[in-house]
Chain length 195, copies 2
DNA sequence: ATTTTACAGACGACCGGTCATCTAAAGAAA
DNA sequence: TTTCTTTAGATGACCGGTCGTCTGTAAAAT
């Protein structure tokens, strides 16, 4: 990784942390460069606009998550359904500490979907990636017989991931683990019910 | 309702519509007063700050929702579980057209929970109100025997409402009904499973 | 006449974005 | 090796515009 790429990465990392807690419109370019200890003028050397920064940040956070999940969701030595449960319990910590900041993708989705089409499309793509990862594990579980639900893996994955995002969101407001507990209580019932 | 209260209400209504699509930080005082056709200087006659406006808007939107739901969730001539299903299918339209804007409370939750404690607390309260309404119907269904889940109504209500908010959020990004369909597909399974 | 409310305009701060200038390393010419 | 030229990247001052809020006055209400 070149020096240039390192600096851009640093800008992305530092800015992401600010934008994840203050939102897109609540974060100024100055906030971002200050957090990265980079002069303001340099920002536009690396990003063509604030919007562009957000899109790249969205990509980065998802890329990191996917890399993290590859070990978790793709680990064949653990039963698929247990892997899925771990995916949720592990990400509560990994997703910007869960209770503070919440899920960056979810935040951007709510704040920007109706304001920026570029961001909306990127968010949609990132959400799809996550849903697909869940669907893959569910399909695996179906093949080994541990998933008996008559509902298709695609629908199940869509529902579960959306419910999960809603859970993260609720935790932002409530600042407690109750929503997480409710989710984890229902999860086995949803996966294991009906023949 | 006095003339003053009417004007304030109008300001709240018009501003809400803007803030629901553009977010808190994406909406200026000018946007609000322009939408309501009220001179800019008048804003601070009715609200002590922008933050105060948001809190009052949050209260208003929930108050309206509750009034709307009182007919729906409290209507004893319809079986409780069917009332609950209707609550979701009806609110998809009522909740700012669902696909555009999404749920105002959810939007504010994601954008502002970490920036304004006043707004966070109001959001939490409003979310609790909604959850409680669902819990009440579930409890009713349990008493009449139509709800057999061994999971407590409180946990069930918490999960369902969060899943619902996640569904609304996803629809903002995807602009399609797939998330809603997934939710409605899983709903009976969650309510009706296990003995 | 006195108090209260409505509002135009102004306030300084800050916004996202631009730009002329500076720096420093690489290459060419000597 | 030394000097000069070129150039990509770095940078802080600065742009027009907008932000949330306040103040002074006019209008209205009592």
């Amino acid at each position: 990784m070149s020096k240039r790429e390192l600096k851009k990465d640093h800008l992305l990392d530092a800015g992401l942390q600010v934008m994840a807690t203050q939102g897109y419109n609540g974060t100024s370019i100055k906030d971002i460069v200050d957090a990265a200890n980079v002069p303001k003028g340099s920002f536009y050397t690396y990003f063509k606009s604030k919007e562009d920064f957000a899109v790249e940040a969205l990509e980065k956070v998802t890329e990191e998550r996917i890399q993290h999940n590859r070990h978790l969701l793709g680990n064949r030595s653990v039963p698929p359904l247990e892997r899925l449960t771990r995916f949720f319990t592990d990400n509560i910590g990994g997703c910007e500490q869960g209770i503070k900041g919440g899920c960056f993708i979810g935040n951007m989705c709510q704040e920007m979907s109706d304001s920026s089409e570029v961001i909306r499309l990127k968010v949609r793509q990132m959400l799809r990636n996550n849903t697909q990862a869940i669907e893959d594990v569910l399909e695996e579980a179906r093949l080994d017989g541990s998933l008996k639900s008559p509902i298709s893996s695609a629908v199940l994955a869509e529902f579960l991931f959306n419910a999960w995002e809603g859970t993260l969101m609720r935790m932002k407001a409530s600042k407690c683990r109750e929503p997480l507990n409710a989710f984890l209580t229902l999860l086995p019932a949803i996966l294991g019910n009906q023949s």
